[in-house]
Every structure is written in structure tokens, then in C-alpha cells.
């Protein structure tokens, strides 16, 4: 049980850590100064939440690993994030669409976690809900601006959605880890979260005059540590100093 709870907490943490990394790549390169601030703010929120979760994962594991150990000394195959969050930034439509799809899942997940039997997760979710609400508002507003903006922005937003849609199935995967913790009342059931995701996506895309892509082939594997090639580069960059100077204090 502790093993599955450790894995589950890592899944929650890694999504946020990797997405934070991607968003922080924008720093200084945003399309307008206000968005530079908004993206950095999101990167910080995700990072803060990832730290809380990694610290908790370390406690659950009980082998004395810190949040830094878990972030900087695990390899590609040990990361448990969904493939969606490791996808490259692309143009601003891709960055926004990636966050929008994640936010539409993350907010109902955090809301549902408030009812978890795991008190630590409840406390972490309690903090995250407020931020996640703002994140979803930010990404939804931009989806609408793009969809119902110019022809170019509409086209770019539609392309981004079409490109990323295949990565959304993995958000609701029902595997043994999920089932075991669902039964124990720790992880919320995927069904209602998927329903909330669908309803947000449909509503926002309608306002944005964008087309919801067909549910075709859905990519999976991230939750079990089988990632796209992108994650290796993210970790090579993120972990460089810890790997180059083992045991150093910073």
C-alpha cells in the first residue's frame, strides 16, 4: 500500500515539476510582458506544489529521500508524469493548449482530493485548489482569445489541440495503482474527473469556436515511466549540477 501511495504521489508531483520546467523555459521570451509574468507565476505555483508532493512522497517511502533527491536523482524511467506535460513548448498556442488540457484535469482532481482519506494529500490539495482555479481561468481565456481572435490564431489553436489531444487519455488511466488507492478512498475516481474535464473542454472550445478533436489513438506509458524522448533532455538539463557535483550543497 505504501508503495502504491508513493507511486501515486510521485505521479501527482512529476506532472507539476515537469510542466513547471517547460513553462519556465519561456522566462524572458513571452509574447508580452504580462504573459511573461503569468507564465513565471504558473511555473512557480506548479513548482511549489511539486515540492510539497515530493516531500510527502519521501515521507511515504520512508527511506530518507528529500524532495531534491527525488527531483534530481531519479532517471527518465523513474519519472511518473503524463506525456502531455513533457511536450515541447512550440508556439504560444501549443503552450496554452497544453496547460489548458492539464488545468481542465488538474482542478477537478485537486477538488476531489479534498475528500481523500489521506490527510496530507488533503492539505496539499487545499492549497492547490485556489491556484488551479486561477490557472484554468488563465488558460481558458487564452483559448477563447485564440479561437475567437484572428484567422491565424484560430488555426494555431486548432493545430495545437489536434497535436496534443492524443496525450489526454493518459490523464484518466485506470491501472492497478489507481484502482487500489481508489478502493482505499485515497485517490478520487477517474470517472467524475473525466466528466468535469469533458464539460470544461466542451464549454471553452464552444466559446472559442474551436473543434474538439476526435478521440482516436491515445498515447500512454508516462505513468509507468515510458516517456517520449523529450523527458530525457528535460532531466539532463534540470539535473546537471546535482549529477556533476554529487553530494554538494548549494
Amino acid at each position: 500500500m505504501n508503495d502504491t501511495r508513493f507511486t501515486y504521489t510521485l505521479r501527482l508531483a512529476d506532472d507539476l515539476l515537469v510542466l513547471s520546467h517547460r513553462l519556465s523555459e519561456w522566462c524572458g521570451h513571452g509574447p508580452v510582458l504580462e504573459e511573461d509574468i503569468a507564465l513565471t507565476n504558473r511555473a512557480l505555483d506548479h513548482l511549489g506544489e511539486a515540492r510539497n508532493l515530493l516531500q510527502y512522497a519521501g515521507q511515504v517511502e520512508g527511506q530518507g529521500r528529500s524532495d531534491d533527491d527525488l527531483a534530481f536523482l531519479r532517471n527518465e524511467r523513474q519519472y511518473r508524469n503524463v506525456k502531455l506535460v513533457e511536450q515541447p513548448n512550440g508556439d504560444y498556442a501549443h503552450t496554452i493548449a497544453r496547460s489548458f488540457l492539464f488545468d481542465a484535469y488538474h482542478l477537478p482532481l485537486m477538488q476531489a482530493l479534498l475528500k481523500s482519506k489521506d490527510e496530507q494529500l488533503v492539505a496539499i490539495a487545499g492549497k492547490a485548489v485556489k491556484e488551479a482555479t486561477y490557472h484554468l481561468r488563465h488558460s481558458s481565456e487564452w483559448m477563447v482569445r485564440f479561437g475567437d481572435g484572428t484567422d491565424e490564431s484560430h488555426q494555431r489553436a486548432q493545430t495545437a489541440l489536434d497535436d496534443l489531444w492524443t496525450f489526454t487519455g493518459e490523464l484518466f488511466v485506470e491501472d492497478d495503482v489507481q484502482k487500489e488507492l481508489e478502493k482505499a478512498g485515497i485517490a478520487p475516481a477517474s470517472g467524475p474527473i473525466k466528466a468535469a474535464f469533458d464539460s470544461t473542454v466542451n464549454e471553452v472550445l464552444k466559446e472559442a469556436t474551436l473543434k474538439r478533436p476526435e478521440d482516436g489513438f491515445m498515447a500512454e506509458g508516462g505513468r509507468d515511466g515510458r516517456h517520449t524522448e523529450h523527458l530525457g533532455y528535460i532531466l539532463a538539463e534540470m539535473q546537471y549540477l546535482q549529477r556533476a557535483y554529487p553530494g554538494a550543497e548549494w
Binding site: 520546467h21 519556465s24 523555459e25 522566462c27 524572458g28 521570451h29 513571452g30 509574447p31 508580452v32 510582458l33 504580462e34 504573459e35 511573461d36 509574468i37 513565471t40 507565476n41 511555473a43 512557480l44 513548482l47 511549489g48 511539486a50 515540492r51 515530493l54 524532495d67 531534491d68 527531483a71 534530481f72 508556439d91 504560444y92 477563447v144 482569445r145 485564440f146 475567437d148 481572435g149 484572428t150 491565424e152 490564431s153 494555431r156 528535460i234 538539463e237 534540470m238 546537471y240 549540477l241 546535482q242 557535483y245 554538494a248 550543497e249 548549494w250
Partner: protein
């Protein structure tokens, strides 16, 4: 009718009486221009300054340092925003101010044309670059133009936090493994002289000093501020066991200040003129961000105008 000459005398009298000048007040055109130049340069420096530090966010050595660095760079973007707003109170739009940067008509602080090669450079920037900037900015909290002075009060609070965290990075590195201490010393070696150059040319060579002092836009000269910075920083270096790379540096009992070696002004002008190690990359990064962001800004504008039209029709 009041003559311009009388207005100028009245204006100078207000300055001399330490009254703040506000956006609606009459001001000499040269005062306005001088301020626009300085405030916009300051705004651009904040925004371009995000690049060398942003360069290490994805490689920060632990999660705490990463969070601090993200917050710091975010603060800088915020400072850029206040300062662009302060410029707007002087009648220049943000778009035209940014165009001036991208076309090369406006300058930004030359310090950001140096590269951040190692993690210790993030420490050195906080400690030395923000430390030097604070000297200038503390003075500017008392500048004669109200909106600029008020923006500076807010900025100074955040900058002093940045300076402390930079110094802390250096202190930790100095106490760390030999390679880490060497990294810190190397960063100090590379950033020391460019930091001294941040205060600008000697007073005798400075094009804007006399006028700026008369109007109390500036209240202390380049050389005075530079000396203050040196006196403070040399002691801080000693505390953490790092050596300032200036063989002529010596405490002068009589003056009550450190004497120091001559700055390489050839290097200074070379970087100002566009030939620093990163001038080209920095401008290219800003221009690319601006160009790639064009369709985003257009989409936002198009959507806002559609919304307005819908509201009017309803």
C-alpha cells in the same frame, strides 16, 4: 502670459524646494526627455536582465534555488512593467518605448551583455549587479519626478532581497567543495569590473550628470556611488573568503575609502557600442520574442474588439 523662462525658473525653484514634479505639472522639454531616456533605459534593463538569469532557471541546483530564481526573474518583469508605466506618464506609449529598444535607438544596462557561464554567475549577479543597482536606486527613491521615485521605493525593497540571496549563493559556494569555491571566485573575477562600469563614466566624462544633478533626477554622482559600492562590497568579499580581482585595491586611511585600480574604459565603450560578448544574442532574443508574439497580441486585440462590438449590439 508667462514666459517659458519664468516657468523654468519656477520649475527650478520647486526642485530646489524639494517638491516632487507630477505628470500634469509643467516641465522643461529637456527635463522630460532626460527622464524618458533614463526611465525607459531602466525599464529595458529590467526586461533584458531577465535573459542572463533566465538562462539558469532550468538548471538551478535545487528546488529552493529554482523557486527563488523564478521569483526574482518574475520581480524583474514586474519592475519592467512599473517603469514602462512611469514612462507613459511622460507621454510615451509602451509600444513606442519598446520599438526604441528593438530598433537600437534606446539602450539598456551594458552589464546584461555579459554571459552567465556557471551557476555562480547567478550569485554574482545578485550580489554585485543588484548590489550596484541598489546604490543607484536608493538614490532614485528621492528623485524629483514623483512617479519614478514611487516606483523606485517598491523596486528597492525587492532588489535588496535579490542582493541578499545572491550573496548567500556566493557564501554557500565559498564554503562548499573546492570546485564550488573556484566557481565563485571565477564569477567574482569576471563580474567585478563590469559591475564597477555600471555606474557609468567618471563624473568628468559623463554627458548627463550635470543636468541631471541640477534637476535632482540624480543626487549623487557616478564616482560617489561607485566608491560607496566598492567600500561596501570589498568587506563583504572578505567575509566569505573571496578576493576582489584588483591588485591596486587598498584601504586609504586618509580618505576613509578604498583606492582602486583604473577601469578599462575601452572595454566599457566597446560593450556600449554593441560589441560585448552577448549584445547580439540579447537583442536577437528580444526581437524574436516580440516577433513571435505578434500574432498573440493581434489575437488578443481582435478578440477584445469583437467582444466590445457584441456588447454594443446587445
Amino acid at each position: 502670459m508667462t514666459e517659458v523662462k519664468d516657468l523654468e525658473a519656477l520649475f527650478q525653484a520647486r526642485i530646489d524646494a524639494e517638491q516632487k514634479i507630477e505628470p500634469r505639472d509643467w516641465m522643461p522639454e529637456k527635463y522630460r526627455k532626460n527622464l524618458v531616456r533614463q526611465v525607459s533605459q531602466h525599464a529595458h534593463s529590467e526586461v533584458v536582465g531577465m535573459l542572463p538569469e533566465g538562462n539558469w532557471i532550468t538548471r538551478a541546483p535545487n528546488l529552493r534555488r529554482k523557486a527563488i530564481l523564478l521569483a526574482k526573474v518574475q520581480d524583474e518583469a514586474g519592475h519592467g512593467l512599473y517603469l514602462y508605466s512611469a514612462c507613459e506618464t511622460l507621454g510615451v506609449t509602451r509600444e513606442s518605448t519598446i520599438d526604441d529598444l528593438l530598433s537600437g535607438r534606446a539602450k539598456y544596462s551594458s552589464i546584461f551583455n555579459y554571459p552567465t557561464l556557471t551557476w555562480a554567475d547567478i550569485g554574482a549577479i545578485g550580489w554585485l549587479v543588484d548590489g550596484a543597482a541598489i546604490m543607484n536606486q536608493v538614490m532614485l527613491t528621492r528623485t524629483s519626478y514623483g512617479p519614478y521615485a514611487r516606483a523606485m521605493v517598491r523596486i528597492c525593497k525587492e532588489e535588496s532581497f535579490h542582493q541578499r540571496q545572491g550573496y548567500e549563493i556566493m557564501a554557500v559556494l565559498s564554503k562548499g567543495k573546492p570546485e564550488q569555491k573556484a566557481m565563485a571566485q571565477d564569477a567574482l573575477n569576471r563580474w567585478w569590473w563590469p559591475s564597477l562600469m555600471m555606474f557609468g563614466p567618471h563624473d568628468s566624462e559623463s554627458a548627463h550628470t550635470a543636468e541631471s544633478m541640477k534637476w535632482k533626477i540624480k543626487r549623487e554622482s557616478n564616482d560617489e556611488l561607485r566608491q560607496k559600492f566598492i567600500d561596501r562590497t570589498v568587506q563583504q568579499a572578505e567575509v566569505i573568503g573571496l578576493t576582489v580581482p584588483d591588485p591596486d585595491l587598498k584601504w586609504n586611511e586618509e580618505r576613509g575609502h578604498y583606492d582602486h585600480g583604473e577601469i578599462d574604459w575601452k572595454e566599457f565603450w566597446n560593450v556600449v557600442e554593441g560589441n560585448g560578448p552577448c549584445n547580439h544574442e540579447r537583442m536577437k532574443a528580444r526581437i524574436t520574442a516580440h516577433e513571435n508574439g505578434r500574432w498573440v497580441r493581434e489575437a488578443a486585440a481582435a478578440h477584445a474588439s469583437k467582444k466590445t462590438k457584441k456588447k454594443q449590439a446587445a
